[in-house]
Symmetry: C2
Subunit: 232 residues, 2 copies
């Protein structure tokens, strides 16, 4: 797997540089290139915001021009908040991911105040723009890095929900049905339904609720215990 | 469309609170609830980091307990960096989205240093955990908010790449083929191919490159002009 390289053009604030370094660590990215930085990568504020990922700052490579910084890359995505005049392909972070597979890719971010100029953008193969609220579209630079690296990381990880079970096992339906029998008998005994013809609907709803619960074996035992304890 | 509500439990740093407010603005989210905040929502640092979205800080609601803060919600997602002992359903930001449709949902984030305790998590219906590098899994709180709100915003926006064309139109194939005829004639004239039997393969490759370019009508005219100019 080839990891993308982060390129920051004329980054202004050391805090943002540190926050980018932290985000890179969160998504396992280690190559950082700084083009004409306006702050010092060794600044204490950058180190504080890196929150333990100082290595990426220490190993950052410095460049005097964008052309040099992208020289060895196969594909350069520039990031912009808004659509520009240049005839370029625009992607969201998600739709950009398939284009990155197997390529040595640079992700280029502009200075905080102005973003990338059209001249800067001309070195880019394609553009990534993050879908945001059009009335408040200016993302913090580290936030933009996070979103794109999150998509990159996701493109390599499975996307399934899971139930944390620890030591216990999910109950099978038979165990639930035994429990339902037990519960129904108990409720019958205490004349819970009051009006007999309402029982069917009420009882369906109660079972539906317990089915949605998807209890574990242990939880079913706890439910038996609780009902028996209340009964006494 | 029902928008999620952001709940911050015992947030510590005003800068982070402001960064959360900015991120909420970026994705069009306006309801913020603060449970026992350890910093002042009116702090100048919070306002500076909000970068124009102070309204969300000014309108934030304060709560003394998590129970009160989630009281009117239909579904509460708590966020954690690691899997915990409680038997809960875990989702990634992406897999959580379908569960949010049509529900009044709260997104709960814990204090920066410790995250949410198991006691805090017990108010949650389900858990969201962001896929990250296991060796450096601690996301900044505002970064975690950004990632989840980005997924929420995406679930309402289309995911297609597009070509920015401005005033120009993409060339149709016929225009490309005329251009190819012109180019081939020019190259034949200057005996570009040298070895005749190599022409077929070389010419296929040249056409492939121009097809990948997907030029506009204007760009085709520019190409004609450039070749004619070079010829003179």
């Amino acid at each position: 797997m080839i990891k993308p390289i982060i390129l920051l053009h004329q980054i202004q604030l050391a805090e943002n540089l540190g926050a980018v370094a932290r985000a890179m660590g969160n998504f396992g990215i280690d190559q950082l290139r700084l083009i004409q930085p306006k702050c010092d990568p060794d600044d204490a504020k950058a180190f504080a915001m890196a929150a333990g990922n100082e290595t990426v700052l220490e190993n950052a490579n410095l460049y005097q021009s964008l052309e040099h910084a992208v020289g060895d890359l196969e594909f350069v995505f520039a990031t912009t908040a808004t659509e520009r005049e240049l005839i370029k392909e625009y992607h969201t972070p998600k739709t950009a991911m398939p284009l990155m597979i197997g390529k040595k890719v640079g992700l280029l971010f502009g200075p905080e105040r102005t973003g990338l100029s059209n001249e800067d953008l001309s070195v880019a193969t394609d553009i990534i723009t993050i879908p945001v609220n059009p009335d408040f579209s200016s993302l913090n630079i580290a936030q933009a890095v996070v979103v794109i690296l999150y998509e990159w990381f996701q493109s390599h990880t499975s996307q399934e929900s899971w139930l944390h079970l620890g030591e216990t096992k999910p109950a099978v339906q038979k165990e639930l049905h035994y429990f339902f029998k037990f519960l129904e008998t108990e409720l019958d005994e205490v004349n819970f339904w009051r009006v007999p013809h309402k029982k069917e609907k009420m009882w369906q709803n109660i079972r539906a609720a317990f089915l949605r619960m998807q209890p574990t074996e242990q939880e079913i035992r706890t439910l038996y215990g609780a009902i028996q304890a209340i009964k006494k």
